[in-house]
Amino acid sequence: MLTKTFRAISSLLAAALLLGTAMPAFSALAQQEDADASITVPVFERTALRTGPGDTYAQIDSLPAGASVTLLERNRAGTWLHVIAPGAGEGGADLNGWLLSGYLTLENVRFSQVPVNDSIADADLSAVSSPDLASLYAVPVVPTINSAMREVFARGLEAGNNPNVIAKIGDCNTATGLFLAPIASGAYDLGPYDHFQDSIDFFAESFANNSEAARIGFNAIAVFDPLWANRDRCLANESPLSCEFRRINPSVAVIMFGQNDMRVLNSEQYDQYIRQIVDTALMQNIIPVLTTFTSDQADEELFPRSLRYNLIMVAIAREYGVPLINFWSAARILPRYGIGEDNAHLTASGTRVNFATGHEARYGASLHNLLVLQALDEIYNAIIADARG
């Protein structure tokens, strides 16, 4: 009996020892597999390597076209990638930093497989001297969806809102056929942003809607003025905003005003009417997704105004606890900040939504599309995906 017990214990010990000896080997194997799974991609156009995912972070170096980098992680929006550039530093040292994903060839990369770094901020505020700039840079590019918005969405469903319908509210940069609409007809290439596919499938049909509440020349006041409403589609005395909400019963409203507003409205009017838009949406249990607008930093007259108006937008989003896309901040890295020479229309290329060739790192309209899709994806994942099982 004793012998049997001894043998059993010995066997257990032997097994434990064997396992203990083998574990480092298993671990090494796993690491090897991780290393094999690491993704190395080429840079296709010279780009800056920075200490973090934003233009305010210090530049470490620049990488020439053809340099190879190994992907480590990405920011939430996917617009910046944390990489190692083997041997690219002085004396052949590896460089470790962040660069714009749009300057890499990412044909075989799927961002759903790239870890997200949620802890690093979108801007290095210590490098920003102006308080207004710092306040604006401090706002995350991609919003998170809070429980209050989940409740808004749920109440909206009870009231008959269409869960998969979004309303587009804004000026020419929202009314343009380049904003989301190509996605509805399949004219899009997500490139590495494969993780958007489920939310796109859910919302895409409504992207084709020609919104009554988005028109060239619109400002935050015009959307309440029945004279701007298309009388062929809207009721007597119905504002474009009410008309649009009545016609499509959306669950989400994507809102961007500012380009025209800063030219013709005073800041009190802008504040008043953006609030009124948010109030109108929330009263109908529609999630209002606010968006800051980009502006040309070289325009000495309009740029300071754009900061003030964007900060109003930020303050309203905070006060109401509604999602805000910080397009202004993300667009700082775009050529001409993503705005045309008229300092009104977003720069664009082609009529497809194309994230496969880095358009989102070059054109305002592309980056706008990307960030709105990201925000809708956040809403989808926070509210809808679980409910759909």
Partner: protein
């Protein structure tokens, strides 16, 4: 003689013209229809020559109002807006200030009544030009009301 309520067909006339019948009777010195008609014709001719006919027409008032809107002319809009909507004039002017707007094919005509309002339906569109883009807002039906002897635009019909 007590003044009678204005009949619908009398809405065609401006403040002066509205009392034209009574005026003609007074001038003609009685009810002789030939004399009254003569005075009316003479008065009408005089009013047309002095350009008053446009101000007396709700359709013309709405047309003038729309012209003022596309020019973002708040002062002119104020003079053509009913008291109830006067507070909205500046906002509407501001909403059109950022764009180059014009009217295409504007033609308004009286189309009915809505309580104390006269309805005016307009053909044509507001055309918004903004850089290389433009868009059209089809015109619709508007309400007009007479205040202080003048026709004023007073909302959508």
């Amino acid at each position: 003689m007590p003044s009678s309520p204005m009949r619908a067909d009398e809405h065609l006339f401006c403040g002066i013209c509205a009392n034209a019948v009574q005026f003609a009777r007074d001038v003609a010195g009685g009810e002789n229809p030939v004399k009254v008609l003569f005075v009316l014709l003479a008065a009408s001719l005089a009013l047309i020559l002095t350009g008053c006919a446009g101000e007396g027409d709700p359709a013309k008032a709405v047309e003038s109002y729309l012209q003022a809107v596309v020019q973002s002319d708040a002062d002119a809009m104020r003079g053509l807006t009913c008291a109830a909507l006067e507070a909205q004039v500046q906002d509407r002017a501001s909403s059109f200030a950022a764009v180059d707007a014009s009217l295409d094919g504007l033609s308004c005509a009286r189309s009915g009544a809505d309580g104390s309002y006269t309805l005016v339906t307009c053909q044509g569109a507001i055309v918004i030009d903004y850089g290389a883009e433009n868009s059209r807002i089809p015109l619709g039906t508007y309400r007009a009301i007479r205040e202080d002897g003048d026709w004023k635009m007073c909302g959508e019909g």
